[in-house]
């Protein structure tokens, strides 16, 4: 039996405990431990992703208990794609967050919390069990609240509380959906629920779907439910906001897609849900971009941009659901392309923004005038990532937008995509102009004494930004990967059927 699916979760969990242990016994080695854990986890993730991409889907029964009684995990090509993103994320965030001597309790705990957060995200990605999914979603929530609520940061307690309220409602709704599905089908194993889903009464199916959409909609910031996000990211600070927005959010997108396609069988049973997602996607793009345009704070601006880019992903997803059949593979691949690109671009933006904010000790855009000349590496990475996220050819951001637009059946979403491009150009261009101002204020405040390693951080950020730019010119190679991943979601021949039930010990 291949143990990769479970190792992907267990290694970072053990790692988080280990980091805490090291921190208690020998605090000096905490960063090393965190880096080691991240490396081990990323290696495992890459191995699992490789296995999931190349071979048939990998099934795992924890404790050798087969599906109805035990918990099953699975890695197929679809989850493999997200495992790849997580591999990038954990390693990069560990590298970026190597600190020098911050002894505050938050700084001490955050390393373990990040490892746990990535463990939870990996768990969400590999699990094939609804209740197990719920537990990992909750674990991710708790960790993110801890990362958000920094001590002694004005407003962070309130922001943490707001995020907690949102997460509570989200968790309750997810639990409710799982409960309805469990009571109606008698199982929480995704393949078995998927088998029973077409026979469910329409109203039960619809309510479970609605609860799941709202639950994950809160997490990923669908428009009327996005209010908590900018405030939260602002309070969380840039390094954490990058982790939340670039990686946490994407995994929740994964969970939404997986639930819709797999246990709920929505493309067959409830195609109407994709029209809702289409409208939500367009509203997200317009709201996110226009709010980012009038925003005066860099972090909040990036947060609103995240909200907008969830809209692009949703447009691809909605197109996939509305086409149905094998043509949906292309649309899902487009959505995945944008997901991956946004992960790279947004983490690069947040982390390079971190350096700028750190130097000027303020995240207000007006206070960042002329800061670029003090951190040229960061501003180069920021500009590259901004070019990609605006969608300037030949960057990866352009290619992904291109494919999302290609997947649309109507003209209106395409127009919305175009409008979004122009609006995002306005606010990124404005920030660039202010940051590269030739007449900087006489003296910047002295930077905060505690700093992350600037050179390492700049190198990581530059690598991410260059990857985001280069992905556009390598679209053939990227696309074969994406199509393989999309097939994993759309053709579930590996799972629907007696895959899990019939296998004896």
């Amino acid at each position: 039996m291949n143990h990769l699916p479970v190792l992907v979760v267990v290694i970072p969990v053990a790692g988080a405990f280990l980091i805490s242990l090291v921190d208690t016994v020998r605090p000096a080695f905490k960063s090393t431990a965190a880096l080691l854990v991240a490396t081990a986890h990323s290696t495992t993730l890459v191995a699992a992703a490789y296995r999931g991409m190349t071979g048939p889907a990998l099934l795992y029964s924890v404790g050798e208990w087969i599906a109805p009684v035990g918990i099953s995990l699975m890695v197929d090509s679809f989850s493999a794609f997200f495992l790849l993103l997580l591999a990038i994320g954990h390693l990069a965030s560990a590298l970026v967050r190597i600190e020098s001597g911050d002894r505050s309790e938050w700084a001490r705990k955050s390393a373990a919390l990040i490892a746990l957060f990535f463990a939870a995200l990996s768990g969400i990605t590999v699990t094939a069990d609804l209740f197990n999914l719920f537990i990992f979603v909750e674990l991710a929530t708790v960790c993110s609240i801890g990362l958000i609520a920094r001590k002694r940061h004005p407003g962070s307690a309130v922001a943490g509380f707001v995020a907690l309220m949102a997460a509570t409602i989200s968790g309750a709704l997810l639990l409710f959906a799982v409960l309805v599905l469990y009571v109606a089908t008698g199982t929480v194993a995704m393949p078995l629920v998927a088998q029973a889903a077409p026979d469910l009464p329409a109203h039960l199916h619809g309510m479970a779907t609605a609860a799941i959409i709202v639950s994950f909609g809160i997490k990923i910031g669908l428009v009327p439910m996005h209010f908590w996000q900018p405030r939260t990211y602002h309070a969380a600070g840039t390094t954490v906001a990058a982790i939340l927005s670039a990686f946490g959010l994407k995994i929740h997108v994964y969970a939404l897609l997986r639930l819709l396609w797999f246990p709920l069988q929505a493309p067959v049973v409830l195609p109407g849900v994709y029209s809702i997602l289409l409208v939500m996607g367009m509203v997200n793009i317009l709201t996110g971009h226009s709010m980012a345009m009038i925003e005066r704070n860099l972090v909040r601006m990036l947060a609103f941009s995240s909200i907008a880019h969830v809209g692009y992903i949703l447009l691809g997803v909605a197109a996939a659901g509305r086409i149905g059949g094998s043509a949906a593979v292309y649309a899902v691949a487009a959505a995945l392309f944008h997901t991956g690109m946004h992960t790279l671009m947004k983490s690069a933006l947040f982390w390079s923004g971190h350096r700028l904010i750190h130097l000027s000790r303020s995240s207000r855009i007006m206070d960042l005038g002329g800061i670029a000349w003090r951190a040229p590496g960061s501003i180069i990475a920021f500009s590259l990532a901004a070019l990609a996220i605006i969608g300037i050819p030949p960057t990866g951001g352009f290619a992904s937008k291109w494919f999302v637009a290609m997947a649309q059946q109507a003209l209106l979403p395409v127009l919305v995509i175009g409008a979004g491009t122009v609006i995002s150009l306005v606010y990124y261009g404005r920030f660039f102009l202010i940051a590269t101002r030739r007449d900087p204020p006489d003296s910047f405040p002295a930077p905060h004494p505690l700093s992350l390693r600037p050179r390492l951080q700049t190198a990581v950020v530059l690598a991410l930004a260059v990857a985001a730019v280069m992905a556009g010119t390598r679209d053939v190679q990227v696309r074969s990967l994406l199509l393989r991943a999309a097939e994993g979601l759309v053709d579930q021949a590996d799972f629907v059927g007696p895959a899990l039930i019939g296998r004896g010990r």
Binding site: V162, I213, M291, A399, M406, V422, V426
Partner: protein, 492 residues
């Protein structure tokens, strides 16, 4: 599926080859000119700008062309924002936004074309993609309703940058139009009409200008109008028109760069741009005078200059649409008038002789001017030497006459309007920049009515306040969305 970015490049043929040569030549010359000016920080964006311009003409697929468009826009953005003033930054951002809007239209067109044909090789676009492409072209070529980005940006940059900017952006738009567009809804040459209208309208506005580079910028708009008219006429009316438009691109790119270089020298000496407060340069700097006259003659279409040849071809091609021809004639009259004014004010006006002795200018600064002027003269004398120009008898009596008539009209008008046109700007006010500009009061003193009443402020504040919702209201919203979603998904 094909690859999205094949990056197919090829050396073009025919008249496009001469355009390629001109792009290359002017790119090198003007880049060296910028380097010579010790504007080191412009070196990188200028090099990128030149490379993008050359890439645009080498591109054999739509995506590469779009890449060239965007790289041109962004490098020009960097060049424009280099002035560093608040106004410069505002203008540069406006420039970038309008350029990328054009790029987005291009994106739509490419998307539709790709969706129908599955190919991105350069060629006439599918009909559904054409309107978007036309919108993109109109923006890129600064055709009349959307010309403002050009006339705002070009005069406000450093003196050595303006010639470089004038070479590529609008010309690449014309190139793209020539390769991708073939539009004439119901037999009506939309682009030809828009181009000819722009040629006339921009000349009228140019006549009202008093700042050297602003005047020349309006002439760019006008001259690009000629080219757009030629491209528009190509659609089913005259196959030669596209070639004529491209030939005009070649000649115009050269003489406009020359004129801008001349203007840069003059402005550099006087330290300001106001033409009415210049003059007397002619006797002090004969070489500059010569270059200026060559440029002015070329743009006015004086026989045996390069502008004459290309305008002759254009008018020849527009025979099928006589009204377009008349509009182009009218524009010629205006152009001639405008450049009589330009030359007069710059070189011959005795009212304001230069205070310092300009003869001490170092010779190298004149090298690019002489080179470009020489080529302009050569093209004018031997138009057939240009690759891709069709075999025509350029210098028949009737064609010479048809070129001289508008010039005579210009000269006549100059006699009548001389006083009015050369009146110092201070008494005229900022006439000509827009409607109602005739008031003598300085309208720049208070450009905005004040921040509190700026439009949209209330909306912005409202939107910001909305995003500070407390947790309870948010929970209420979550439940509301749940109810709505559930209602939509409830089986009927």
């Amino acid at each position: 599926m094909n690859t999205l970015f094949p990056f197919a490049l090829a050396i073009p043929e025919g008249i496009y080859f001469s355009a390629f040569l001109v792009f290359l030549f002017l790119g090198v010359i003007l880049f060296l000119n910028i380097l010579r000016q010790k504007e080191g920080r412009y070196a990188f964006p200028a090099a990128v700008h030149v490379a993008a311009g050359v890439l645009a003409i080498l591109a054999r697929d739509i995506m590469t062309l779009l890449v060239a468009w965007e790289v041109l826009a962004f490098s020009a953005f960097i060049l424009i924002r280099g002035t560093g003033t608040a106004r410069g930054r505002r203008i540069s951002l406006r420039y970038l936004v309008i350029q990328v809007t054009g790029g987005v239209f291009f994106f739509f067109a490419a998307l539709l074309h790709f969706g129908e044909t599955g190919s991105l090789v350069t060629g006439i676009l599918v009909p559904s993609a054409q309107p978007f492409m036309v919108a993109a072209i109109l923006i890129k070529t600064a055709t009349m309703p959307v010309h403002f980005w050009l006339t705002q940006a070009y005069p406000s940059v450093e003196l050595s940058i303006t010639p470089l900017l004038s070479v590529y952006t609008t010309k690449v738009g014309v190139l793209t139009a020539a390769q991708l567009i073939w539009i004439s809804p119901a037999g009506f040459p939309v682009l030809a009409w828009l181009g000819a209208g722009t040629a006339v309208g921009a000349v009228i506005l140019a006549l009202l200008q008093h700042e050297a580079r602003k005047l020349l910028s309006y002439h760019i708009v006008s001259q690009v109008g000629y080219m757009v008219a030629g491209i528009g006429l190509a659609a089913g009316f005259s196959a030669m028109a596209a070639t004529a438009g491209m030939f005009h691109l070649v000649t115009h790119t050269l003489y406009k760069a020359l004129l801008l270089l001349v203007a840069a020298q003059a402005v550099h000496h006087r330290g300001h741009e106001d033409l009415t407060r210049m003059g007397g340069l002619g006797s002090r700097r004969p070489l500059l005078l010569l270059c200026g006259i060559i440029g002015a003659a070329a743009i006015s279409g004086v026989p045996f200059t390069s502008g004459y040849a290309s305008k002759y071809l254009l008018k020849e091609a527009s025979q099928a649409q006589p009204l377009v021809t008349y509009l182009l004639y009218a524009a010629s009259v205006g152009t001639g008038l405008s450049f009589i004014k330009f030359t007069h004010l710059l070189f011959f006006n005795r009212a304001n002789p230069p205070s310092s002795d300009p003869s001490k200018t170092r010779a190298p600064s004149m090298v690019p001017l002489v080179l470009v002027a020489g080529i302009t003269v050569l093209i004018g004398l031997f138009p057939h030497a240009v690759p891709g120009v069709p075999r025509r008898a350029f210098f028949t009596p009737s064609s010479l006459l048809s070129a001289l008539l508008p010039l005579a009209a210009s000269a006549l008008l100059w006699m009548v309007l001389k006083k009015r046109l050369t009146r110092p700007a201070t008494t005229v006010g900022r006439a000509g920049t827009g409607a109602g500009g005739v008031h003598a009061t300085d309208t720049r003193a208070k450009p905005f009515p004040g921040k509190a009443h700026a439009p949209g402020t209330r909306l912005r504040r409202g939107a910001r306040t909305l995003h500070n919702l407390g947790p309870q209201a948010q929970v209420l919203l979550f439940l509301l969305v749940l109810a709505v979603t559930a209602g939509l998904l409830w089986p009927r």
